[in-house]
Each structure stands twice: as structure tokens, then as C-alpha cells.
Symmetry: C2
Subunit: 244 residues, 2 copies
């Protein structure tokens, strides 16, 4: 954990907060804070700042926080992901925390019962996203939307979810590298679509391409969904920085 995230309703008007959960344990047992130690804090969906340890009690830590006036920039990469196996998605949530938004969709090669899992309940994934934000030193919780009808998502909903920007479609068979497309097409934001482990079917690829998605690849290897997401997002983020 590289940042202690605090929810706005936890914060007293004075800037004080009493932590009594895993964050307190982490401060005491891992970061080994003592009275007077300053730690990096962030307000969930708000600014970063510094917290000074004012008191350590039995399982509690009192912090006095000062926040920056500026909000961190909104992440500029969004992900459209065919719903992976629950076990994979559970591992993946924390890794997706630093994205602009997460759009989960059905596809032919997504098993129907994946949608019944509790891992799609905000009560389940929100703590995992927050864990990821604390690791990544980010404060913005990415919006998550779940779409059971791929066609309606792409034809009707996507224009609202991702009104403008570059749309990329990860395809192991594509020879074009993300960097090449990103150099050719300037854009503030990028939406990356990653298919199921068995791949999108032809209809799905066609529909995505008809809606502006350009196929890009990072090599012919078939990757596990979690590896593919991490690898592709690293390459896309790299492409975003190269353009700055």
C-alpha cells in the first residue's frame, strides 16, 4: 500500500480521521508508524495529501490530514472487457483500479453463468478496486458497468460511455502494434477492447470494427485474460506517454 485512501464520510471537518480497520493495522504493523509520522493519504475520488499520525490506540490510528487543492488527472485509458472467469476477474480487479472506466460485456464465448457471480457485486469488487488504488497511488474509483447484451452495448450504449477518443481492439492475429495506431490517430482518451479467452467471434469483431475499433496486436501468443489485460494496458499507457 503506497497511499492510505479515506472516504469523505470518514473525515471530520477538522481534517481528522480515526482508522480502525485494515488500514490501521497496515500503518502499525507494516509501515511501523509512530506518533508524528507523515504518510501519504488520498480522499476517495478526491485529492491526494499528507496525513500525520496523532495517536495510536488499541487497533486504531488517528490521522490529521491535509489535502492538495488539485484533483489528480482522470486516467485516460478505458477498458471494454469480455467478462472473464470469476476466478480471473477476482484477481484482476485490483489491477484495473487505475483505469478511467471498466466496461464489462457478454460475448458468445463468455459462459452465461459468469454473470451470476457475486464478483460482479459492487460490495465485492469495490474493496478490491480500492486496494488497487492504494497500491497505484490513485484516488479515482473507476466507474464499472456490466452489459449482458454485446450488440446493444456497442450499437447504443457505447457512444454515451465513451463519446470520443481512440478505439482499439486487441487481436492476437493483428500485425499492427498499438503504438502505430496511436501515433497515427491523436486522441485524449483510448478505449481498449479485450475479448474472451476463446476470442471474439466474427460477428463481434465486425461490429466492433464497424464502430471504429482498430485491431492491434502485441504478438501471436495466446495470453490468459489477466496477463493480456496487464500487458496490453502497459503497452497502451506507454503509447499515451509517448505522445505527451
Amino acid at each position: 500500500v503506497n497511499l492510505i485512501l479515506i472516504e469523505s464520510n470518514e473525515l471530520r471537518a477538522s481534517g481528522g480521521v480515526r482508522l480502525s480497520d485494515a488500514r490501521a493495522t497496515h500503518l502499525v504493523n507494516v509501515l511501523r508508524v509512530t506518533k508524528g509520522t507523515t504518510v501519504r493519504v488520498g480522499m476517495l475520488d478526491g485529492p491526494c495529501g499528507a496525513g500525520v499520525v496523532r495517536a495510536i490506540g488499541d487497533g486504531t490510528v488517528d490521522l490529521e490530514c491535509q489535502f492538495e487543492t488539485r484533483l489528480p488527472e482522470r486516467p485516460r485509458v478505458d477498458l471494454l472487457l469480455a467478462l472473464p472467469r470469476p476466478k480471473v476477474l477476482r484477481r484482476l480487479w485490483a489491477q484495473l483500479a487505475a483505469l478511467g472506466q471498466i466496461i464489462l460485456t457478454n460475448a458468445e464465448r463468455v459462459e452465461r453463468n459468469y454473470f451470476d457471480t457475486h464478483i460482479l457485486a459492487p460490495a465485492c469488487y469495490r474493496p478490491l478496486l480500492i486496494e488497487g488504488l492504494q497500491q497505484a497511488r490513485d484516488t479515482r474509483l473507476p466507474p464499472v458497468s456490466v452489459h449482458r447484451q454485446f450488440r446493444i452495448l456497442v450499437e447504443d450504449d457505447l457512444a454515451g460511455l465513451f463519446p470520443s477518443g481512440r478505439r482499439l481492439l486487441a487481436d492476437p492475429a493483428a500485425d499492427r502494434q498499438p503504438a502505430v495506431v496511436m501515433e497515427q490517430q491523436a486522441a485524449e482518451r483510448t478505449l481498449l477492447a479485450v475479448g474472451p479467452e476463446g476470442g471474439w467471434n466474427d460477428f463481434e469483431v465486425g461490429l466492433l470494427e464497424a464502430h471504429g475499433f482498430q485491431a492491434v496486436g502485441i504478438g501471436r501468443r495466446t495470453l490468459r485474460t489477466d496477463t493480456a489485460c496487464i500487458a496490453l494496458l502497459a503497452v497502451v499507457h506507454q503509447g499515451m506517454r509517448a505522445r505527451q
Copy 2:
């Protein structure tokens, strides 16, 4: 699994092999092969090929294999990794299977007891690497070496392990992107050094730089070791392909 790996001592002179372990179960229960089905096979550290299902028994599958004459290319990226927590390393092995070699090292911020773990025993990691190879459709098992003395590794052993090529040092504080260094310095092979979660210390960075490692970064975020490896290796592989 995208490739069934067969060890050379399993193969009869005729090209026949009887599988009776997880590979047989996978062929029957996941790939749902029947008599006559052709599946991709590979010989460990050898060529890829095709296997035709000749018989399915009680927990066994008989394949008749034909192999290509050409060996797959040796992967051109090697990893020098400060030994991560056993739990992280266990998850990571399969992800590292498609590398040229894996060099594990001590560092100041590596806990001593990480070296006592059975996850460093070939009997433990070899099946995990093979699992990764089967996923990645590769056949070459990367050599693994474990070094308890960082300085001796860098000063004495590294010249033999990685005689020539580009040496990169992953550093969250570095502004230079891997692609920039890779464009400037042509090389057939790349060795990427990834530090412990707490980072290399100053002596270690100095020693690496004195031995030709150039610091590169993919953003200021502090990443978990497994995420950092996957993300960095994706960016480096991308850089290798851009030069082809």
C-alpha cells in the same frame, strides 16, 4: 492450454505417445477430442508439431505426433529479477515461461527467508514453467539460475549469463521509456532487471549502471512485482518487435 508439451523420453520412436496425466484429462474434458482429432503438440526444448488422437482409454490418450524440422526461435528477452515473495513468485512462474532465461538474485530489500522456500526447487517451478509454455505455445524451457550474492552475480557471473545485448534497469523514477533506449541501441537480445518491491538500494543501482544497465521507466506507479514484470516485459517485447 494451447499446446500439449511432450518430453522427449515420453515419445516412442514411431512418434507415438501415451498421455495419462493432466494432459490427457485436458484433452478429453476441455478440448473434448475424439479419435482422429488433431491437436497442436510440442516437444519440450524441441520443435512444435501436430498430434492425431489414435485412441482414448480410461484416463489415457494415445497421440501420433509429427514434428516440424525447425526449432522455434529462442526468446530474445531475459529477466534479472530480485527474488519476490514466495506467493508472488509462485503466481509468476507460468508468466515467465516464454523468456530466454530467468536470473533470480538477492538484494538488500529481499527478505533472507525467501531463499529457503521450496518454490525455488526445480521440482516445484518446472511444472509451472511447463504450464506457462503450454499456454504461450512455446517449447523452450528457460534456464533458471539463483544467485544469493548480488555483487558476485553482477561483477562476475553476468558476463557469462548474458554475454552481449542491451541491459535495461526498470526504475519507477526513470523518465526514459524502454522504447527510446531500444531505438537508440540496436541489439539482438535484451536483459531486463526488475528490483524488489521496495526498490534496489543506491549501491545496487550504481553497480548495475556501472555494468551497462540503463534505467528505464513505464510510469511512476509503484507496481506489484508480478504486475511490474508482466507490464515491463510487454513493453520490452513490443520494443523488440518494433525494431524488426
